[in-house]
Amino acid sequence: MKLAKICKQTLDALCKSDDLYNLSDIPENLKNHISICKQCSSYRNSLIDTIDLYKNYDITLDRNTQKKLLCNACNKLREDK
């Protein structure tokens, strides 16, 4: 399926956008297009979902390991002094 020119422009703008939620940096004509084109709107949502998945995938360092690593680093710095 060949994409319509406006869809190509929209995908390009979405991938570069700093504000996928509010689309504040997207030209008005493309914003209007997103509101009526199911495919472009779906593309935008999947970009948001992808980012959210990575945002939600975080990892915590337990306190003891944190303390140990910091202590090791400081001891090494003292030795090097």
Partner: protein
């Protein structure tokens, strides 16, 4: 305000060689450094090792922190450099190139997005593996831009200063990274 003043005092003292002040200063940032390192290298042991190296490098290069940027932004720069050094020293990774990925390839871009992702959602192991696998395929230069901008939420100006890149290059890399990851995860969206 008091907290910022206190941080400034600790930076001043640490710059003069006060290791206790450094300990106090950096304590609040260890989780951030660890988390960012993990997001870049996708490996807990490597993230711990990067954290350890970063702590030492931060102390050693603290003299170069001029206070023009936020301390946290400067820290991102140091951690990023450590991640890049680690990557260079490994020299084993084989990434596929995303340079040829075209945005206008075909209808593959149009997949349904029916995933309900709330901030409280706990990602299952299978999905975590998929996310790791996808981002590991992304060359580091694209990965860093994606993580700094989209995951850590840094501004384009901050990202520019951390990576020493121009705004158009950052935008272009972000464009490719987002599109690449989204395509890598399309099976997940389709299955949902």
């Amino acid at each position: 305000m008091k907290q910022i003043d206190e941080e400034q005092e600790l930076i001043k003292a640490a710059k003069k060689g006060d290791i206790n002040a450094f300990n106090k200063l950096i304590k609040n940032y260890t989780q951030m450094i660890y988390s960012f390192s993990f997001k870049v290298c996708r490996n807990e042991e490597k993230a711990k090792s990067t954290l350890q190296d970063t702590l030492i490098n931060v102390y050693k290069s603290l003299k170069t922190f001029d206070g023009k940027s936020k301390f946290s932004t400067w820290l991102y720069k140091v951690v990023t450099n450590n991640c890049l050094m680690l990557r260079r020293s490994e020299k084993t990774g084989r990434f596929i190139s995303v340079d040829d990925i075209q945005i206008d390839s075909d209808s593959d871009h149009f997949i349904s997005s029916a995933v309900d992702i709330s901030s409280k959602e706990t990602l299952n192991t299978e999905l975590k593996e998929k996310l790791d696998e996808a981002i590991k395929k992304l060359p580091l230069k694209y990965r860093l831009v994606f993580i700094l901008r989209d995951v850590e939420g840094l501004s384009i100006e901050e990202t520019k200063n951390i990576l020493n890149l121009s705004v158009p290059v950052i935008k272009s890399r972000l464009h490719r990274a987002r599109n690449f990851l989204r395509n890598e995860l399309k099976e997940y969206y389709e299955a949902s």
